[in-house]
């Protein structure tokens, strides 16, 4: 059984249907990606899973349990963390505090300290700046902090909303390297990207979202080789 199952999910914003009934699965240990153009409903999907918006129809199952409409903190507690679009680090908190707040619901102090060391091990630049206000970091560093903060709740599944958005190509490479490393360490990842090329190369499985519904799905390789996907989402970058 899949770790996360989304079934016929519909979300309305005052009469406008942002999600028109999408279904997908995320299997344990995989990197699954949702790609699609701006406004396709990718962020809305993640926000519905995190209970920041409630669906009008459909269900979300996690480890076989129906988690639709649970409180956001319950979702975090159960092991689903989100790295939101646009990083959204707390600019008025230090790097250290941003990580600590990622572990807000945990009480195991010793383990929290260990996990922080682990984050600093993955992102040495954050360690060097642990006392700095997050608002003073560069865009790439803020993205890494947002990922580190997401890890601090010890999630079983980490959802990332366009982590490469607005970053220099070098930094984008770093981010994707880290996504793969986390996955190799056992983390299941639900990745949203507009950078379809990089996302499909990293992912085991992918879904293509178009205006609120799933237009196509397949393994990363299948989608990379699909003609429609190449024309619509990969453009020239398809040649590699």
């Amino acid at each position: 059984m899949s770790l996360l199952q989304v079934k016929n999910l519909k979300v309305n914003f005052g009469g406008i249907e942002a999600l028109k009934g999408i279904s997908f699965n995320v299997d344990q240990g995989q990197i699954v990606t949702l790609i699609g153009a701006n406004g396709a409903g990718k962020s809305t999907t993640l926000r519905a899973i995190s209970s920041l918006v409630y669906p009008s129809e459909g269900s979300i199952y996690y480890e076989g349990r129906d988690i639709t409409r649970l409180d956001p903190q319950k979702i975090v507690e159960m092991g689903i963390a989100m790295v939101p679009e646009g990083r959204r680090v707390f600019s008025n908190l230090t790097v250290n505090e941003n990580l600590l707040i990622g572990a807000y619901l945990r009480k195991d102090k010793a383990a929290i300290a260990k996990d922080m060391d682990h984050v600093y091990d993955i992102f040495p630049r954050l360690g060097e700046r642990h006392w700095q206000l997050a608002g003073t970091l560069s865009g790439g560093e803020q993205q890494m902090l947002a990922v580190g903060r997401g890890m601090m709740s010890r999630p079983k599944i980490l959802m990332m909303d366009e982590p490469s958005l607005g970053l220099a190509p070098m930094v984008v490479q770093d981010i994707f390297r880290i996504i793969k490393r986390l996955n190799e360490e056992g983390m299941t990842i639900l990745l949203i990207e507009q950078n379809a090329n990089a996302a499909l190369h990293a992912a085991h499985y992918g879904y293509v979202l178009e205006t609120g519904h799933v237009a196509m799905q397949g393994t990363g390789r299948e989608l990379l080789e699909n003609r429609q996907v190449r024309e619509a989402y990969l453009g020239k970058s398809a040649k590699r």
Binding site: L52, V76, A81, F90, N92, L100, G102, Y104, G135
Partner: protein, 292 residues
């Protein structure tokens, strides 16, 4: 001159302390909700009436903690009933709701008291006179600034060093991301109103120990001045509000000493206009552009 200056300064820091205890409530609520809680001055007044009615039948040792408890409960209830349902409404709606609450509380107090000024009970320990050099003053005059500073330092420490303080800072920046961390923002907002009302209750005890009578609209003036103090210090900043309040308290008393008593209130509001014109972010206020 010198023998007039000392009592003047003493009274200045004392009044400043009273304003500060109210101002912190304004500035904290603004920091977290971007809301000017117009009802805050009325909660301060209500604390005065709570004391009047409780002390009539209970000893001070009981009525004092009860006043604080009731005031905190009132502040908490106002937020739950009048602001929380408007969490995702435009900020103007919440502002109008706050004005509504303010008038509601005032009118309730008119209704209950019949509009007559009520005598505030004498708290013996605070009202004892002591001699300082050539002058003498009530203990409350000395006690107010000391207690204000202790409470402010404790509050700043709470916000900088504790988990709930960290959550408050996070919520003040970004509700939604705070929820993604598992923070219950409604609890954090309630905690803010509880702290603000607690300080207003303490402030009311100190204030009315000096002014001795309570009327339904008496909170308006100290409330407004505390609000100016919060703007002066940079709204959202707790140390700013405290410093702003002390500056206003001292300036007012110097103006009174110089014989321009009628202008002491006007000074505060002139100050408000000057700040808004030349430094709208106040002494320690954050620039709005800093917000991501």
């Amino acid at each position: 001159m010198i023998d007039k200056l000392l009592p003047c300064l003493l009274s200045g820091v004392s009044v400043g302390g009273q304003y500060a205890l109210i101002a912190v409530g304004y500035t904290m609520v603004y920091g977290i909700l971007r809301l000017i809680n117009f009802a805050h001055g009325d909660i301060f007044t209500a604390a005065g009436f709570f004391m009047v009615y409780l002390a009539a039948s209970l000893p001070l040792s009981l009525s004092l903690p009860l006043v604080i408890l009731l005031t905190v409960a009132l502040g908490f209830a106002v937020e739950r009933v009048a602001y929380k349902p408007l969490r995702s409404a435009p900020r103007m709606s919440v502002m109008i709701s706050a004005i509504g609450v303010s008038y509601l509380l005032q009118n309730l107090m008119w209704y209950i008291t019949g509009g007559l000024a009520k005598q505030y009970p004498v708290i013996p320990w605070l009202s004892t006179s002591i001699a300082i050099g050539p002058t003498s003053t009530k203990i409350v005059t000395l006690f107010t600034p000391v207690l204000t500073i202790i409470l402010s330092v404790a509050l700043v420490t709470l916000i900088r060093r504790t988990k709930i303080g960290m959550a408050m800072r996070a919520v003040s920046r970004d509700f939604e991301t705070a929820r993604l961390m598992g923070i219950k923002i409604d609890s954090v907002i309630s905690a803010t109103f509880i702290i603000g009302s607690f300080l207003a209750a303490v402030g009311s005890v100190l204030y009315f120990s000096n002014y001795t009578s309570v009327t339904p609209t008496i909170g308006a003036m100290p409330g407004l001045k505390a609000f100016v103090a919060a703007v002066f210090g940079g709204i959202g900043s707790i140390p700013g509000a405290v410093i702003g309040a002390f500056v206003i308290g001292i300036c007012e008393n110097i103006i009174k000493m110089l014989g321009y008593t009628t202008f002491s209130d006007a000074f505060t509001f002139a100050l408000l206009i000057v700040i808004l014109l030349f430094k709208p972010t106040g002494l320690f206020g954050e620039k709005i552009s800093e917000k991501v």
